[in-house]
Symmetry: C2
Subunit: 147 residues, 2 copies
């Protein structure tokens, strides 16, 4: 077992899961703040040079996992590791956000899909993208084609 601790919390406009946009074509353009604890502020040095960040966080209001589930963007079940379901063996979330500005240990970002108060485990710079022409998107592309 590995013990992880919050390095801060997300300030988000979403108080409940049903408020977060979901399903095919859902856009995540909400603004929020990554409030990092002051004791970790030194670790943010030079982060403002990056336009996008990976945020690794905890689905802290998810209570169990299911290996097979039907996501909001399809009417067919898929394996949890082929979806972004909150009901995961380790309840870890991953979101790419755009960094708008930094105020000390507060990072103002766009693209939050986390609930208000979500614990943050880590931040990493977004360094490169897979070219879209190399991406295959499995069941999601099929669901989009059917829609």
């Amino acid at each position: 077992m590995f013990s992880m601790q919050a390095i801060g919390y997300v300030k988000s406009p979403y108080k409940q899961a049903r408020e977060v946009p979901k399903g095919l074509g859902a856009k995540h353009e909400a603004e929020g703040v990554l409030e990092i604890f002051p004791e970790f502020e030194l670790g943010l040095t030079d982060i403002e040079g990056f336009s996008h960040l990976f945020v690794i966080w905890v689905f802290d209001r998810s209570e169990r996992f299911e290996l097979l589930g039907t996501p909001p963007s399809d009417n067919r079940p898929h394996g949890v590791f082929a979806t972004r379901s909150p009901r995961r063996p380790n309840p870890i979330g991953l979101t790419v956000v755009e960094l708008l500005r930094r105020e000390g240990s507060r990072l103002h970002v766009r693209g939050v899909d986390m609930l208000d108060g979500t614990p943050i485990l880590d931040l990493k710079p977004y360094l490169s993208s897979v070219p879209p022409e190399q991406l295959r998107r499995g069941w999601l592309a099929e669901a989009e084609a059917r829609a």
Copy 2:
């Protein structure tokens, strides 16, 4: 505190950290296997439709963290959250791999930069990329320009 458990292990050609390509222009094209425990195999259903996956894993051989450090790709120190340093408050790694094929609960992938035996916490489908023209890459772009 949040307790996380391994869902499997990475089989990698790298036995020690010094073998992993590092620094400016390092390429990660090594092949490896994500060996997921059989009890989680159902969670892999339909994953083979995706060309790329996010792998969330543990730097299990990293013993401490430092908030400021000098990465292999630069000669100047940066905050840990602006780098991919293993010495993080939560020793979580994130790697994008290309999925080559699935054999039951074994995923053959390209692009591993983890050590052999690294514990895996989660897998997620890679669904979309930030367009390169929208990316700013801070100190890394500056280090590349100086090189």
